[in-house]
């Protein structure tokens, strides 16, 4: 009973956090702002999946959490290298 209430409250708080970081993705003035906001958005999505696993009492959702945790790092590295160098894989330096 108590766990159901706290799961509902935690879901509402994480959903509000997802909306706020999505707002920063929309209004962020530069590409770097949007990338940081997307990074936090994916991390909050992992937290929402973990709360959902407690609610459903299945460990199935944890595979999804691992897969989502790998994505934002690749996005951040690609955007940072492209902003600085203009090229993602530099072929000149050996």
């Amino acid at each position: 009973m108590m766990l159901a209430w706290s799961v509902a409250v935690a879901q509402a708080m994480v959903a509000a956090a997802l909306l706020l970081s999505a707002l920063r993705v929309f209004i962020g003035p530069t590409v770097l702002d949007r990338t940081v906001a997307f990074d936090t958005f994916s991390a909050f999505l992992i937290a929402l999946i973990a709360v959902l696993a407690v609610q459903d009492k299945t460990p199935v959702h944890f595979d999804l959490a691992i897969m989502i945790s790998l994505v934002p790092f690749v996005v951040s590295v690609v955007v940072a290298k492209f902003i600085v160098k203009g090229d993602i894989i530099d072929r000149d330096s050996h």
Binding site: M2, L3, S6, V7, V9, A10, M13, V14, A16, A17, L18, L20, S21, L23, R24, T30, V31, L32, D33, T35, V36, A37, D39, T40, A43, F44, I46, A47, A50, V51, A53, V54, K57, P59, F62, D63, A65, I66, S69, L70, P72, F73, S76, V77, V79, A80, K81, F82, I83, V84, K85, G86
Partner: protein, 117 residues
Amino acid sequence: MIEILTSLLLLLGAFLILAGAIGVARVSDYFSRVHTASVPSTVGVATVLLGSALYLSVELGQVFLKPVIALIVLFLTVPLSTEMLARAAYITNVKPAVNYVRDDAEARHMEHKEAVE
């Protein structure tokens, strides 16, 4: 007992996440925003993942290590990507709202470039 512990961990993590998201949405300076964004996506998400793993391990009578893998991946990648994004912003001349008190990167001759859009 396990329900109380899980509730505490979930609510603490959700509070950290909501505070960090308010910071990401409201702070007007890029570098402060990067600083605000990195704490909830490591510590807050780690708290929620630990609570979930603990509850399911006790409830189903089996140890689950998949949330710990996701947690280790987050703790390895989030500081790296945050540092790379802040360095890219410094190199492409993004200015903070209040000017630098002391610029250590300038003293070590880090160059500035134009951003590629």
